[in-house]
């Protein structure tokens, strides 16, 4: 049981490239922390620094009240699950789980109890004598989990553990990981680029971009009040529609502090197709360009007349001028049809012109 604290952690490679630019995160005991961000944002590097696989070039990493910057991975009391599982191919499932314990000089009887208990929890009991190559992807994933839990470490570290699994299995394993973590109540840090995985697993969500933390907090709070346009477009699928708006136009429509806003964001699900303009809200005329029906909901891709008003600055972006509207059911306008969509005042997200600051109004 331990909390993990990162204080102004930095990583600069010998070439001068700064991968982590001063990160502060505090994960309380027993919490599930998810680091999420696009590829190359430094989330994996940060996790590997906590594991001790990468050196720390600035700041402090504190696990359970002990600064571990100079401590070997084996002595940090952590366990890690790798993306490709990293099982020892020549060892049986049993030995894969027992190896770390044996290296610590644990008695064989105690090892047996722990491995068998872990195998029971993970439903691997019938496969203890098999080699990793005789297992399916999901089973390998569970062996990797087993190897982590037999250690009974202070902290679990997960490096995109589900990205090698197919979509269906990924969802099942996601639920399993969460249940397991709740039961063991072990502090966990989990890296993923999948925002859905991040939203569903996290107690604390850390959104990273370009080696920096964009926002830390409860996943729903982040969803409801993204601090920057990056977070706004990264969390939530399909991404939030972001439009630049001339200040005077916004001011006249919204008034007050909203006058400082340069960008207005509206989530696809917050639009309604209507001819009315809600008081204080925003209405847009659109030409329908494409329709995606996924069963329970339908996505309408429309283009605005004034294409220059679209903000293009973040990943997962739509082409300029394109707006996504999510409507329930399968009833949708025809392609080429002109429609009007509107969103109420409470559903608008206002940001400063550079997208770095959220404006509450």
């Amino acid at each position: 049981m331990a909390n993990v604290t990162l204080r102004n952690v930095r990583k600069t490679y010998t070439g001068g490239f700064e991968a982590i630019k001063g990160v502060n995160v505090d994960v309380a005991d027993g919490q599930f922390c998810v680091l999420v961000g696009p590829s190359g944002c430094g989330k994996s590097t940060l996790l590997r620094m906590v594991a001790g696989l990468e050196t720390v070039t600035g700041g402090e990493i504190d696990i359970g009240g002990r600064v571990v910057n100079q401590i070997e991975p084996a002595d940090r009391d952590i366990a890690m699950v790798f993306q490709n599982y990293a099982l020892y191919p020549h060892m049986s499932v049993y030995n894969n789980m027992a190896y770390g314990l044996r290296n610590r000089g644990m008695a064989e009887a105690e090892i047996k109890t722990r491995v068998e208990e872990a195998a029971r929890v993970l439903e691997l009991s019938a496969m203890l004598e098999r080699k990793p190559r005789q297992l399916s992807g999901g089973q390998r994933q569970r062996v990797a989990m087993g190897r982590a839990i037999v250690r009974q470490p202070k902290v679990f570290l997960f490096d995109e553990p589900l990205s090698n699994l197919d979509a269906k299995l990924r969802i099942a394993m996601r639920v399993e990981i969460r249940k397991l973590q709740r039961r063991l109540n072990t502090t966990s840090i989990y890296v993923t680029h999948d925002q859905l995985e991040a939203m569903t697993l996290a107690d604390v969500l850390v959104v990273m971009n370009g080696g920096q933390v964009e926002q830390v907090g409860n996943p729903l709070a982040i969803y409801e009040k993204p601090a920057t346009t990056f977070v706004a477009s990264f969390i939530g699928a399909p991404p939030m529609n972001l439009m630049s708006t001339r200040p005077d136009e916004i001011k006249s429509q919204l008034g007050g502090a909203a006058g400082e806003a340069g960008i207005v964001g509206i989530r696809p699900e917050d639009f309604v197709i209507t001819d009315q303009t809600p008081a204080g809200g925003v209405a847009l005329p659109l030409t329908v360009e494409a329709i995606e029906r996924v069963g329970a909901e339908t996505f309408v891709y429309g283009s605005r007349e004034q294409e220059d008003q679209r903000v293009a600055a973040t990943p997962g972006e739509l082409p300029p001028g394109e707006i996504i509207v999510r409507i329930p059911g399968t009833e949708a306008p025809a392609i080429g049809q002109k429609i009007r969509v509107a969103a109420v005042r409470q559903k608008l997200h206002l940001f400063s012109g550079d997208g770095r600051k959220r404006i509450e109004a």
Partner: protein, 282 residues
């Protein structure tokens, strides 16, 4: 169409049989000649069917040797060759796997220079550096010894390169998982890298054993005592006789005996080869 297929197949088989005959006939002759009487062979009246002297000839070859040129039982030569070939094969594998481990997994000063120096030795086989090597072995008083036979042939760039290439395909995560599991460098080497290299080592062993077994020039240079002769050197000596008839049955028996260990190694290791190919570990 079916008939065509049949004819084509017969032609193919016929060609294959010709190939086999070309390869196998000399071996057959050697085996036949090793069971004949020397006088018959010397007269050019050798039969293509086995003669009646099999036990006699092989007994003399293994335990006595030729009466003239070599004065040494072939059994002893085989032992010498075996010790040398095993020492070369095992020694090369041991040295190369350790040096490859150092080069791939450790950061130390001049790592790349050392790698290139090893690489360059590829271009310097024993034949090229034979004088300095002989001088060193002589100065170390290793002439006429097993150490002298094997040691200079042990350092190997090829095997080091092969293991280096293999180690570079082992995923880094295995090393990282080992580090988290508390395995130090030696443990990782012993518990993970060696078992994974098993099939590579088997393949190398076959190649290196045959290479060592077939050495001729180096043993010829550094052994002068009869009881240190290797079988390859022995065969050559048996053939060149100045004042007597070449004892062809014994020469042929020696040649047959010289073939056996490499054949045995290939056959025995083939299973491990195939298993290594079928099981894709990593």
């Amino acid at each position: 169409m079916v008939e065509d297929e049949g004819i084509r197949r017969y032609v193919a088989h016929f060609i294959l049989w010709i190939g086999i005959a070309i390869v196998a006939f000399p071996v057959y002759i050697a085996i036949i000649a090793s069971t004949q009487d020397n006088a018959l062979i010397a007269n050019g009246q050798m039969s293509l069917l086995p003669g009646g002297h099999f036990f006699e000839v092989y007994y003399q070859t293994i335990f006595v040797g030729t009466s003239g040129s070599t004065r040494e039982p072939v059994g002893n030569m085989m032992l010498n060759s075996l010790v040398m070939a095993l020492a070369i094969a095992i020694g090369k594998i041991a040295i190369s796997i350790i040096s490859a481990y150092a080069i791939v997994y450790f950061r130390f000063p001049f790592r790349m220079s050392i790698f290139w120096i090893i690489f360059i030795t590829l271009m310097l086989p024993v034949e090229v550096r034979i004088y300095p090597t002989y001088k060193i072995v002589a100065d170390l008083h290793m002439l006429d010894s097993y150490a002298g036979l094997a040691l200079p042939l042990i350092a190997s760039a090829t095997a080091t390169l092969l293991f280096r290439q293999f180690f570079m395909t082992v995923p880094d995560e295995l090393l990282e998982a080992s580090r988290i599991d508390g395995a130090g460098p030696l443990r990782f080497f012993w518990d993970t890298l060696l078992p994974l290299s098993r099939t590579n080592m088997a393949a190398l062993f076959v190649i290196l054993f045959i290479l060592g077994w077939n050495q001729y020039l180096w043993p010829l240079l550094i052994t002068t005592r009869d009881d240190m002769q290797t079988i390859q050197v022995g065969i050559r000596k048996m053939i060149t006789t100045t004042d007597a008839l070449t004892e062809w049955p014994i020469v042929m028996a020696t040649a047959v005996l010289a073939m056996l260990p490499p054949v045995f190694v290939v056959v025995a290791m083939q299973k491990l080869f195939v298993r290594g190919l079928v099981e894709t570990e990593k």
